[in-house]
């Protein structure tokens, strides 16, 4: 409430310059001399907070840090000399608001993406290599477990493979049926809607694999094992009819990218969980914070990789109808990703990653 108390009582209607000479207290005169700067800063801050940065003149933008420091020093002086609680609270609030802008996230989205692709992403991936190895081991183990279980007792197949994949691809299916699921579909339209759905679904699963790392990484590992168990079971099915290589090729087109993304997501989740379980020199909070920020960079990349995977799955797989061709595409993608993550070691400008 900025009511002019004086006018309500019918006296003291003078303002401006008259008031400047009028204040009885030294601390109020101090305030009156600097009020102009405070209000200029407040105007700039208010406009920036409203997102109208472009409407600010260059002079205003340049003046922000200067005014911030002026007002910050006003606050330190006022704390030592003034007992006007309302003014102190105003200054504290104003300095805090300006501080958020001066020291706020200054990179634009574009700038952040440039840094992300220019080395921030691959650096973050390399930083969690231990967790990637653990996640990879879990994935291999999951595949083996799926295979062994189904080989032991084919009924496991129905438990491991969700209904949507088990249309014609069930134990006992003939070679022709299984062959038909892998080849001869190039006449179909590109399944763009299907791939959009796949992307949305897979992205949600990988976000979950990451987020579950919060519980010390154990659920992330379980999710990896479970998903790869499905693959192991299906590999066994095609192997039974001598189609394993063809199935692997069919899977490789998008699978190298998609499984890579799932590996990264699981590794990222594991990284957070492991940092919380074994924080080392840092406090648990600090360790969790640093690991979380590093893993977040990896996760943005995971979502992008899944977009690529969904496009490969929706389009490329229908176009290429030979196993050799499919392996070429899948292998090339694998080489590209690995090369980008582990051979591309440019250090991005500024502090990327954590």
């Amino acid at each position: 409430m900025a009511l002019d108390l004086g006018t309500m009582f019918g006296r003291n209607t003078q303002s401006g310059d008259a008031a400047l000479e009028a204040a009885a207290l030294r601390s109020d005169r101090f305030r009156q001399e600097r009020e102009g700067d405070w209000q200029r800063l407040e105007a700039i801050v208010t406009r920036m907070e409203a997102g109208r940065v472009r409407k600010l003149s260059d002079a205003d933008v340049l003046e922000l840090p200067v005014l911030y420091r002026t007002v910050a020093s006003s606050l330190s002086i006022a704390r030592e000399t003034s007992l006007d609680a309302a003014t102190l609270a105003y200054l504290e609030g104003l300095v805090q608001r300006a501080w958020f802008l001066v020291y706020g996230p200054r990179v634009s989205l574009g700038g952040w993406l440039r840094r992300f692709f220019g080395g921030g992403w691959s650096a973050a991936v390399r930083a969690i290599w231990v967790d990637l190895l653990i996640a990879l081991a879990a994935m291999v183990a999951g595949t083996v477990v799926g295979w062994v279980l189904v080989a032991h007792d084919p009924d496991w197949y129905y438990a491991l493979v969700p209904g949507q994949f088990a249309d014609a691809r069930v134990p006992g299916a003939s070679r022709e049926v299984l062959y038909g699921t892998l080849f001869g579909n190039q006449g179909q339209d590109a399944k763009s809607a299907f791939s959009a759905y796949l992307f949305s679904n897979n992205a949600q699963v990988s976000i979950m694999a990451f987020a579950l790392g919060f519980a010390f990484g154990v659920p992330s590992l379980m999710l990896l094992v479970q998903n790869m168990g499905t693959m192991g079971a299906m590999l066994w099915l095609y192997h039974g009819q001598g189609l394993m290589v063809d199935f692997a090729g069919w899977l490789a087109v998008h699978g190298t990218t998609e499984l890579y993304a799932i590996l990264l997501a699981g590794g990222a989740g594991l990284h957070v969980g492991r940092s919380m379980a074994f924080p080392g020199q840092l406090s648990v909070m600090q360790a969790a914070g640093e690991a979380g920020r590093r893993a977040a960079v990896v996760m943005v990349g995971v979502v992008l990789m899944l977009v690529v995977a969904a496009m490969l799955e929706g389009f490329a797989r229908q176009l290429i109808d030979t196993t050799a061709g499919r392996f070429t595409v899948g292998g090339a993608m694998l080489a590209i990703w690995t090369g980008y993550f582990f051979a591309f070691r440019r250090v991005p400008q500024g502090s990327a990653g954590a």
Binding site: A2, F9, A22, A23, A24, S27, A72, L88, G104
Partner: protein, 311 residues
């Protein structure tokens, strides 16, 4: 001896201190759980409305496309158009679910529309920059904290009865929902991972200066023609706490409070209370008390409240 405004907020367990790179200590108030819950509820409503509006708009376009092309009886064109709309719809739903919080919290205000309306924002816990990585990390966790158990709960209760799955989903949901109650900084699981916290966004207007009134400047009151002048002993009875209380009374300017406070001060300093000119009296007393206390401050002598300095 703490800084002056802090004495008014003493005992507030939401108060934290942050030191800027310039070495200035700023008080930061953590957002209350109620306002955070309110902000989340508002955001979910907004997201729901945005999803609904997008779906209706796309459905209407789809209906229009259908009529348009059905006239020409071109079947594959219809399919392509509908397929394209379906992709747009999936992408839009994905973005609303995952990018809403990201986009707004990366902005200059560090707050989603819901947070803006409840007056709170996201900040870095260590007092440094709020980085894009932090915002991403804290919002990815939202997926398992909120959306996953909700979806799970909806599908579990679909059949009409809440089985073991429903109970598990509820337990899961509660673990994360109650997380802010079990740490002193009221962190959500996502805040813990990201190294962020949610604080109140201050927005205060600059109030008018207090010592510009005529009575404050030592002139005679216009109503009674009296000049209020207080002696040293009469000013020595109060400290900074009472001064700030008096400031609040003067700024709020409620007549009954003014009268009551004026009478209390008169009793304390042994004046006989008159009536009708309480405000001028209080302004004069406030100004002279503040002048005295601030003069003491300049010499490093502070008096916290009326009990300070007594044996």
């Amino acid at each position: 001896m703490s800084a002056a405004p802090a004495s008014l907020r003493a005992g507030n367990d939401r108060l934290r201190r942050m030191v800027t790179p310039e070495g200035i200590e700023l008080p930061i108030t953590l957002a209350s759980r109620g306002s955070r819950f309110g902000a989340l509820a508002l955001d979910l409503i907004f997201i729901g409305l945005a999803m609904l509006a997008t779906t209706i708009a796309l459905a209407m376009i789809a209906g229009g496309t259908f009529g348009e092309i059905a006239a020409k009886a071109h079947k594959t064109a219809i399919e392509h158009a509908l397929e394209f709309l379906f992709i747009v719809w999936i992408a839009a739903m994905f973005l609303f679910r995952n990018a809403w919080f990201l986009y707004f919290e990366l902005g200059p205000r560090g707050a989603t529309p819901g947070k803006r309306m409840t007056g709170i924002r996201v900040a870095a816990r260590d007092g440094g920059r709020l980085s894009a990585e932090m915002v991403i990390a804290r919002n990815l966790l939202r997926d398992i904290e909120l959306f996953l158990p909700l979806v799970f709960l909806l599908s579990a209760s679909d059949g009409g009865d809440m089985g073991a799955a429903g109970i598990a989903a509820t337990a899961w949901f509660l673990v994360f929902a109650l997380f802010p109650f079990f740490n002193k900084d009221r962190l959500r699981a996502g805040d813990l991972i990201a190294g962020s916290w949610v604080v109140e966004a201050p927005k205060r207007k600059l109030e008018s200066a207090m010592s510009v009134g005529e009575a404050a400047r030592g002139k005679e009151s216009r109503r009674t023609g009296v000049t209020y002048k207080f002696g040293d002993e009469e000013l020595a009875v109060y400290g900074e706490y009472e001064l700030q209380t008096l400031e609040r009374v003067l700024r709020e300017n409620r007549p009954e409070a003014t009268v009551a406070v004026a009478e209390a001060i008169c009793r304390k300093i042994g004046w006989s209370p008159g009536s009708g000119d309480e405000r001028a009296f209080l302004e004069a007393y406030y100004t002279q008390l503040r002048a005295r206390l601030e003069a003491g401050m300049r010499f490093g002598k502070r008096k916290a409240d009326k009990f300070d300095g007594k044996p």
